[in-house]
């Protein structure tokens, strides 16, 4: 067991949402290091230590990925597909975050191997409640092999 706290990667282009998500995580007592990238390309660079993330210490392997669906450059589903098709990365749980509640998007996320799918509700309190479910993964992630 490694006692080092698990890092979390949040892929989100909307700064407001980054702030709100961080707040919601905090309110749920999840205080781990959260690395934030702005788009799908950056997310992949982060995971593969490319470009500005070539320094592994600045881009550690995350234990959990919160992935927004609608992203510039490379969208969330594409990133999800890359992750899940990589034998090394596919064990990392991915929770999709989206503002859309369209059924087909939800189905698409699960089909792509997402471990959970969270619709961002307009009501912030509700959002906080939903993030609570992430804690389940949190426990799980803490037990996962690195």
């Amino acid at each position: 067991m490694n006692s080092e706290p698990v890092k979390m990667l949040l892929v989100e282009d909307n700064d407001d949402h980054v702030e709100l998500t961080k707040r919601a995580l905090r309110e749920n007592g999840i205080l781990n290091d959260i690395y934030v990238v702005k788009d799908g390309q950056e997310a992949l660079d982060f995971l593969y230590h490319r470009g500005k993330y070539s320094d592994k210490t600045k881009a550690p392997r995350p234990g959990l990925i919160l992935l927004d669906v609608k992203l510039p450059k490379i969208d969330g589903f594409e990133v999800l597909e890359k992750i899940k098709s990589d034998p090394d990365l596919k064990l990392i749980p991915v929770i999709m975050l989206t503002t859309s509640s369209r059924d087909e998007e939800i189905a698409k996320g699960y089909a792509g191997g997402a471990n959970s799918y969270v619709t961002k509700p307009v009501d912030f309190n509700e959002f906080v409640n939903k993030i609570k479910s992430i804690r389940l993964y949190w426990v799980l992630v803490n037990k996962l092999p690195k």
């Binding site: 909307n14 407001d16 949402h17 709100l20 707040r23 669906v69 609608k70 989206t98 503002t99 859309s100 509640s101 369209r102 998007e105 961002k120 509700p121 307009v122 009501d123 912030f124 309190n125 959002f127």
Partner: protein, 843 residues
Amino acid sequence: MKEQSEDERTIERAIFADRLARFVLFPFLFGIAVIAYTKGIPYPLIPIGIVLVAYYITAQITIVLIKRNFCPKWVYLFRLIISMVLTAIAVHYTGGIESPLFILLGISFIMSALILPLKQSIFVFVVGGVAYLAEIWLEHYGIIPHIHIVNAFSANAFQDTTYLLIFSLVIVTVLAGMGTLTGYLIRFLNLQLEELREAKTHTENLVKVLEEARVTLEDKVKERTREIAESEEKYRNIVDKSFDGIYIVQDDVFKFVNTRFEEITGYTAEELKHMDFRELIAPESLELVSERGLKRQRGEKVPENYEFVELRKDGKKIDVEVFATTINYKGRLAVQAYIRDITEKKILENEIRETRDLVDSILQSSADAIVAVDRKGIVTFASKGAEEMLGYRESWIGTHTSKYYAKGMEKAKELEGIVREKEKLENYEIDYIAEDGRIISAIVSASLLRDVNGKVIGSLGVAKDITEKKKLENETREVKNFLENIIESSIDGITTTNNKGVITFASKGAEEMLGYRREETIGTHIYQYYLNGREDARKIMKVLGKDGRLQNYEIDIIAKDGRIVPINTSASLIRDNRGKTIGTMGVYKDITEKKRLEEEIRRRNEELENFVYTVSHDLKSPLVSLQGFASILLSDYKDKIDENGQHYLERIGQNASYMETLTQDLLELSKVGRVVGAFEKVDTSKIIEELTGRVQHLLEEKKIELLLRNHFPIVYCDRNRILQVFENLISNSIKFMGDAESPVIEIGHTDKGEVYEFYVRDNGIGIEKKYHEKIFIIFQRLQDLEGVEGTGVGLAIIKRIVENHGGNIWVGSEKGKGATFHFTLPKRNLGQPYTLPKRQNID
């Protein structure tokens, strides 16, 4: 004796008479001449000489003529007359010695009588008498000089030696004449005698010949007897071995039987000898045979040849044929008969009869008309089929075939010609005329009929009535024309191919659609018109081969001008009567325009999709932020913001939430048009049940009574969408119940034939009539519905759902009197209300 002909006798007589005359006349005249000369009496020697010469010449001519057989009788008569005349002349010149002349005349008469028939004798006598009387009369009247030689002598002439001499001469002459006559008589008698002698000799010869013949005959008889004796055995064998039984019956008893007869009867010859012939006759034939036997014995005429039944010794009856005659047997009448066992023949006859009956019944039972005619075209047989086909009531036999042809004798001649030339007629179509005048079409086959020797005796024809068939053919043709017209007037293209994919037909529609003239396409392979050639053909045939049909298949065709024409085709296999596939038929439409519209729709849908995406993400994102930050502001800075500020923050949050609902509804509405679930049989009572459960707490809370009017039907629909309709209507009713004293919501339906009409009724606040249309339009909220949540999209959504199901929705209401929402759903499955055209998947 030689028979003399009448003419020969006449000749003979003529010669005889002539000689007689010469013998009498010549010596007489000669004597007179001598006496006159010696006495110196002038005597007309020259006339006498002329008479004699004339006499001689005529005699010779007569003889020659008679010998030449030139009318001997008449020549002779003429000769006699000449003789008389000449004699008369001679007598005149000798001086009228009437007496001797008279004698001469008498002799002539006698001779004439002897040799001539009476009439001719009389004639001669008359002529002679006339000649004599003429001489006397001529002298008397001095026409001729009277010469009386006797007068030249003295009166006592008788004393005169000269006279005596003359007289003697006369006597001698007479005697000589008599002598000659006698001589001739004798000669005549001798002739008779000669004949007798000849006859005698002849008889004697005959006797001699007969004797010789008798001897020879005797020898021959002996020889023959020996031969007969030799061959008797042979003949007996023949008789015994004869195929026929032979017997002789006399006095009712068998006098003779041959071996064959023993075999036929089963009795031995010895047994038969003691038997009455009737014992061999079977009882049924006894009367006939006895009667004939009796008659025959009485010599009456009875048939010689007849059949009867014979009784054998072993009691078996056999059919026999008998040929019986009467013969003289040992001096008395007997019956000789030949008998033949005809059992076999009878069997054969029966077989022939049965065969004939069979053939007859076959011919008669045939539904076809069978008619036999002789060489002249006269009917000798007509089957029942023939009679029924044409309906003639009187017999056909003996009538001429021309009677039955619509074209009469002309047709009969034509057919006869063909049959004579080709010896048969095959499947020839002929129109007959029935008794009632109808024309009956028939297919005829005929062949020559021959007897056992191969000689043509007529012909046999079989005719099949094809009137019905022809009628059917006509009808079929009409139907065909009808169908062809339909096909030709169809705007759709219709093309048929054979089993190999070669085009056999292309409709006018096809020509116009693709620009090929049908003459160009018929006979070519269909694949060459497909954009993907054989590959397309293979795909189509795969489906056709499996299902027998292909529906709404879309394929690209190359038109004549090179355009690529997308078509929608439905094809099926063409089968013959026995179900065997003989080709394919495709009906197709030019869907270029449809394709274009589809593309347009697809593009619009894409735009809509983008719009929806934008709405659900980009419009919602700021709301999330807005609400989030407002919420955080309220919780984190609660003590720093006064009550008014807090109220505003809450309003911001509420508006953000409303905005979210609004986008949510918009998305829902867009989905209704684009996304449709599968249609299935749905029990609407189950839907009502489910909804009742969901709204139960709301009903209880507002004390609303829910009335379900009847059992709900099963409809074919998208379950979730119809549930949404009911849910929306029920929740609207709850929402707009207002302050009714005893709030009631009633749900029911009525059967309207083709559709079910559902209704949801409440006694709530109601809707003003002017809004009845408006409420179904998006975002049209009624202003005075304060305190009621709603975006104004709900009714628009359910209107679209109902319409997509082929139904209608409307409201019946008045302000303050509640509202009733009606909507209809068709009973029949109308199929998917709207789907993007999908290509039939055939790979």
